[in-house]
Symmetry: none
Subunit: 401 residues, 2 copies
Amino acid sequence: MNSNLMQNLIVSAQTKIVMLIMDGLGGLPLEPGGKTELETALTLNLNALAERSSLGLTIPIAPGITPGSGPGHLAIFGYDPLQYQIGRGAMEALGVDFELGPDDLAARGNFCSVDTDGRITDRRAGRIGTDVNQVLARLLETIRIEGAQIFIEPVKEHRFAFIIRSPGLNDALSESDPQRTGVAPLPVIALNPDSEKSARYVNQFIISAQKLLVDKHPANMILLRGFAKCPILPSYQEKYGLKAAAIALNGMYRGVARLVGMQVLNVGGNTLNDQFVTLEENWRDFDFFYLHVKKTDTFGELGDFDGKVRAIEEVDALIPRLLALKPDVVIVGGDHSSPSVLKSHSWHPVPVLLFSQYVRADRLAEFGEHACTHGSLGTIPATHIMPMALANALRITKYGA
Amino acid sequence: MNSNLMQNLIVSAQTKIVMLIMDGLGGLPLEPGGKTELETALTLNLNALAERSSLGLTIPIAPGITPGSGPGHLAIFGYDPLQYQIGRGAMEALGVDFELGPDDLAARGNFCSVDTDGRITDRRAGRIGTDVNQVLARLLETIRIEGAQIFIEPVKEHRFAFIIRSPGLNDALSESDPQRTGVAPLPVIALNPDSEKSARYVNQFIISAQKLLVDKHPANMILLRGFAKCPILPSYQEKYGLKAAAIALNGMYRGVARLVGMQVLNVGGNTLNDQFVTLEENWRDFDFFYLHVKKTDTFGELGDFDGKVRAIEEVDALIPRLLALKPDVVIVGGDHSSPSVLKSHSWHPVPVLLFSQYVRADRLAEFGEHACTHGSLGTIPATHIMPMALANALRITKYGA
């Protein structure tokens, strides 16, 4: 849909929308013809909600395409994931909860090992401990580049996020990581004239890093790849007129929510229950809540069918608390599928449920892949969900006279 | 979908895909509310396969649009049939198994009858025998055009394919066939400056043909129409990373398969059984097999409901041999519908079945138009089938981080 069309039709209302995303929700049966994780889970509350809802399946990107978490979320948030691309460096920075701004250029960083001739002997520096990483990251942050600011955010083992902040940076840069051992790291090259300053700054940083790390073997050098600035997206306020809040525990999801202008709420713990407490405590202050559940994807990627089933049941148990808040619209869905038999994200359409007092309820008292196949929403692009949620929240006025 | 998107995500795998196309598969019941040809056919093997598959219906071109065989096939092969158009002349040449190259300009030719004043008296030359056509075609091939090569490929009765080969030819040409009698054939006119050389060559050929045929009444003149060069399509190898083979008996389908870079296999006979033998013999050497069944369409176009039912049953009987090869992905579908009550191609969506170990099986133990209406694939553009087949063959990697 033309996104300006909807933006022009947005009206204000007192209604509240909750989008509950179970990461990697869609699944597959263990045996052909069997039940998926969602169908196996005992979900009395979701089933009861499904009976009063419209059901369907969402396609995050395109038929057959397996989404990463970034594009999967952008799609369910209503942004065309092919128009707005979040590069790998930006995802890495978002993943450690770094607040990427418009002047920031990010990259994925590795500590690596080099020999006395500067040739790479181990691209992952023997997977140094995260504690060592943290110390070395603080060391790298002492590097000064005239006209720019440097941030090094440790991730895990040998990995870190590299961010350089300066006006006018550009991400059309080659990578320093040659992706093999036995050769020296590559100089970073500007891939167009607009990125020459960026290349100069980054190369200055790399040379300084090499000097600083010279006696830190196995972590005596760095590699940078996936240079990316963050796309600038219209915010939920601009696009939908929504004051939106995100309740997510993991950096990447908090980051993507921040990108679309959601206020990322502090959660006083790391359980699903803590997330629901945060929802309840902030209920009066926002129009829209994005609540992200990570465990469903984690177990899917681990290939743990039963774990994913339990993670879904844990969510189901909290549905009454959500409904007790009397939301006007509830979306329950996912950013992509992560079937445990595949141990990875997958291309399969994702079950979705849309509840409001104005939906034509499908009378299918089950929330599962097969029930959703027969739902009235059909199998639709994920980007269609937000317009329908807004309509059900009486937040879109008539088009034309 | 953006086709570059998918091309960039293609990864290699050892998996094999079989696309079994029953030409004109979709049908209609003889009486309202009755069963279609496919639903009438006793298809125990296809029904058993359907139970383990995702079902749906494909729209080859657009809602309400009846496809020709060329665009119908391009769509199911995954090429936008509105972007890539195969003109009538090119289809005629492909139909007689002529290997059209980038320097070839093709047209549909007719022998016709003219009176002593050169006015057309019969546009089909009294439908001369194909044997006479063959003799006259050899005669026309003796015509020499400086800088070009001429090929005349007899079709049936009065029809032939005309091909002229020379660098820089262009198909923006008017037709010589006035589509009525009592007037002389028209000179071929260049419709833009780029086609002036082509017009000159073709007119030279027509004048020479008229002289050669002067005493060959009723076939004493020719008419040319539908001038077309072949579109240049990205090959299956480039687009999908697939080493693809075509097993088709009829020239047109062999030709379209060749256009998309499939290797057209020799079949040692003209039965469906011979085609399956070819599939078995070549199983190790390709990643993708397109197997084309013509009879379903032939009977549909003849208005022979029972004949089409039998043709489908004949295919069903061979399904166990296909499955014995243990393909990773099987598509069973059609290029368009040819309901016998219409005695022609039609606009109706075409039943399709997608089998792999990773589909969410619809548990619909029937392969037919109504069952497919309830399938999880939905009613979708035919071009979506290949991305889903590739995904199920684990040949598409993740989009974005």
